[in-house]
Symmetry: C2
Subunit: 355 residues, 2 copies
């Protein structure tokens, strides 16, 4: 009735280390603790408040895990040899490159939430080629993923394009009601500010907007074989409340900023062929992820409510672990690996070299 | 801005042969003719009315293709050596096995529309293991795909599960308005019959219903790591018209059969955890493909109207060619290969050994 994977229950657990124990790293750690056939063997963080403490205590696990957070990644990788590192420190490829290099040099696979790493050829083709060569030399695979970039605005439209004979253009929208999200996210999108305050924070980079739209555009084009002239990133715009709206934490008066809106476009033959629109604000009447492919056949797809960002990011990072561990060596993107899928059984069943 | 694939324009075209020049084989041939970087080098069919004729004439191409349809597959594969065969002859794995064996023994990759081949471990694990070994010996890959099975009721729910931390159950529905489909399809689902005539045709297997629901259930479970107790296939039921409905070709009076309904369930711990529902009838008010994942997070996804079956099947067969040609050898399913994606540029760009 189903494929036979042989016996795996006597195999050793898959060894996972966590690099970056912030909000996302913490939620990934908690999710890993619920999975069978793996164990957390180490944790790296540079915050003085975390170094030396038990990981379980920091992430709010039920009991201590016997894993002390260290700032010495080098030593960790030399003593316990993880099969894979879950990496969650920064959004920018250049910033995380030295960390990735250190992990890869120790022969350890990487799944990272670094937004730019989801399609690293966009921000730096040279550094991407260097990391690819290094990963191949040390026979490991490296992947950047997450809910966005990594899934709703790139992986999913790419998958849907698979049933199309021809495509004229693709439009992807993600609209989130920020009131259902954690407080730091609401702050990050400027909820409650005046429009002037919002623009000031954009100028001095206290509000950066969403990172990854350009990567998603470039990855879709690459998957389809479209050579874009340009990827245009729109400015980050405030979404101004037309009536008072509020979350549990923030009240937004009429005329003030409820959140933000951003877009990116892929241009070919002087026309936009890929358009991504991202909106996150308090009071959105409908939260959704939608994909419209104008092609043969036409595809109109919608996920409503939108995929929950925090839950989904932890999920996809963990779910991609077997795909990365099984991959041929090199720098990979979501489009290079087998279909993502939830890991609900013993993870060792999915690890080919254990088969 | 995007990954560099080097030069491919001086590479030879990818050579494709078509095995089975029926409705689907013909539409695949027409689609192949629109793609860059490949050429059709042969065609196999056993119908006397087709053998010896030019493929272009049979499929309604604008001009002759210089490819004569042959019934001698053996000779074709020995003289022109295709890179890949597109195979579209029958729904049943056992029926097509000798054909697949012959193709594979000549060292040719296969993309097939055979429904049971989409997850061949369900109907015959032994034959699947034999084909896998043969494909590995001859260093080629074999894939069964299509819109359903192959995409809307298996690949897509598997991909969506990738953002889930845990899943309680999955429900997938495909509802088609048969009036928008070709006449043979409307006949195949019994439109216009009385309920007695319908049941008689079910008994004597003139109406078989949709093939592939069990394969889709089993493939989803395999992808998630769920060990099912059973896959239950419901009986094929008539959808009875509650008011007169019609297509261009068929009028259905009230009380007569407008089409059919089928379901399949995957059972675990004595509960249905995967439910697939397929309906195709004249007069469906909404055509859609929907997926509901009860999990963390919950996912409610819908494609409306439903993905057009004929257009999408030709598309995904052609679009999977590069994934199959690039694959490591063996028998593969959609979940084992990289994300499906439309082939819109020169197909040679996507062929790794040309890189």
């Amino acid at each position: 009735m189903s494929k036979d994977y042989g016996s795996f229950s006597c195999k050793p657990n898959l060894k996972v280390a966590i690099y970056g124990v912030g909000w996302i790293g913490g939620s990934i750690a908690r999710l890993l603790l619920t999975k069978k056939g793996l164990e957390i063997v180490g944790a790296v963080d540079f915050a003085q408040a975390k170094v030396g403490r038990d990981l379980g205590e920091i992430v709010g696990a039920e009991k201590p895990l016997g894993v002390k957070v260290t700032k010495d990644a080098e030593e960790l990788f030399s003593t316990v040899k993880p099969d894979v590192v879950v990496h969650a420190t920064s959004s920018y490829f250049r910033d995380v490159y030295p960390q990735l290099e250190e992990i890869v040099k120790h022969g350890v696979n990487v799944v990272s939430t670094c937004e730019e790493l989801s399609y690293p050829y966009f921000s730096s083709g040279e550094l991407a080629a260097k990391l690819d060569a290094l990963a191949k030399k040390h026979k490991v695979a490296v992947l950047g993923t997450g809910v966005n970039p990594g899934f709703v605005m790139d992986t999913l439209p790419i998958v849907l394009s698979g049933v199309c004979q021809e495509i004229r253009n693709i439009k992807v929208e993600r609209v989130m009601d920020a009131s259902t999200r954690r407080m730091p996210f609401q702050k990050k999108i400027g909820a409650g500010l005046t429009v002037d305050e919002f623009r000031e924070k954009i100028r001095n980079k206290q509000i950066t907007g969403h990172v990854g739209l350009e990567q998603s555009v470039a990855m879709i084009a690459d998957a389809l074989g479209w050579s874009l002239q340009a990827v245009e990133l729109g400015v980050v715009e405030p979404v101004v409340a037309e009536k008072p709206v509020k979350s549990k934490e923030i009240k937004v008066e009429r005329g003030k900023v409820a959140g933000l809106r951003q877009s990116a476009r892929g241009i070919m033959h002087s026309k936009p062929v890929i358009t991504l629109l991202f909106e996150a604000y308090i009071g959105a009447e409908e939260e959704y992820d939608s994909i419209t492919i104008e092609g043969v056949p036409k595809i109109c797809e919608k996920i409503s409510p939108c995929v929950h960002g925090d839950l989904a990011t932890a999920a996809i990072v963990v779910n991609m672990i077997p795909k990365v561990v099984n991959s041929e060596p090199g720098l990979k993107t979501m489009k290079d690996l087998p279909l993502p899928s939830a890991v609900l059984g013993d993870i060792r069943r999915t690890i080919l070299r254990f088969g």
